[in-house]
């Protein structure tokens, strides 16, 4: 017996690609492999740092939008954020982590980031 689920579309390939992509983008399932426990900790820490970094970045952008930062402040904030972003990139590379790895699935609340 084979399923006869009915799927109607004139672009099956494109949808297959996008569905596959959306599944890949989601954080990996729970990895119970004990060897990876340390990596799991690093992932968790970096995830939190990444969250904070993104929040700071958004905050800064909003203030730029509102015009509440002087030219000098924009320069300083920009430099700091840039360094932070570079640092994160370094750490990610060092630990062999990709952007998709740094996320937390909060169940019904969706993903953290």
């Amino acid at each position: 017996m084979i399923a006869h689920a009915i799927v109607e579309t004139d672009s099956p390939d494109e949808f297959a690609e996008q569905i596959q992509k959306s599944q890949d983008a989601h954080p990996a399932r729970i990895d119970a492999n004990p060897e990876n426990v340390e990596k799991g900790l690093a992932k968790l820490v970096l995830t939190l740092i990444e969250l904070i970094r993104q929040l700071l970045e958004k905050q800064a952008i909003r203030r730029v939008e509102a015009g509440s930062l002087s030219e000098e402040e924009v320069e300083r904030v920009g430099e700091t954020l840039m360094k932070l972003e570079n640092k994160m990139a370094q750490l990610k590379e060092l630990l062999g982590l990709k952007d998709e790895d740094l996320n937390l699935n909060l169940g019904p609340l969706g993903d953290l980031m």
Binding site: I2, E14, F15, Q18, M82
Partner: protein, 268 residues
Amino acid sequence: MKLYLYGIVDSSNQIEEAIYGLRGCGVYSIPYRDIGVVVSEMGQATQGLTEGGVLEHEAVVEKLMADFTVLPMRFRTLVDGRDNLLAMMQSYYRDFKGNLERLRNKSEFGVKVIWPADKVKENIVNRLRSDQTEASGPRRSAGTRFMKEKFERYKIDEEFQTKADQFIKAMDMFLGKFAVEKRLETLKTEKLLLDAAYLVEKSQACDFREAFWHIKSAHPGFKFLLSGPWPAYNFVGLSKHDPARDAEQANLFAEVARSQALVGAGSV
């Protein structure tokens, strides 16, 4: 004997049709009060469960859908023995019953939409660039350039999101009219504008489909996918369960009742 579960049905009757499930084993229903759980027997070796089994699993559920309201089980749910199965049914009875009532005569339809994300972005970028006054001025240093880039990207993303929401709202207005419940996921990928599940009364399935075709024709540059009818995979809701605790609680109540009886008997 390990039992492989396909779903919960709203009847204690036996399945009339001969249905075969995983590993070609016969599928039958085990009644519990006024509902039933549909199973097939699985030998000791559970490693053999392949992804091909997914299709066999789905095929069984589809057959059941024709005659019953089904709460479809997640793939690869097994219970060890009939006793455990009945204990599970006892524990979840209220939940199952509630869901069966809620989902009676309804099917799930899936709608996915791909939109021309690149073109949308292009339009946004062009519009933003034309609005911008070219900021001449002192030499831009790294920090400022960084902020400017980030700001631009933020603006583009914001516009992109807004456009997406507008389209989705318009589409949902039509589709939602014939749906009792819905689950929408927006911009799962840049191109996948919408991934939605709609719970539709069987009597309104035609209207729903018509609404879908209407929207499709109204958005020529977009790509559409309609799937279904499915059993309500996306709309089954179970409360948090700890069967051990439930059993404990049941015992506790029995104890209390017995004590009360004793006290009553011994009262002056």
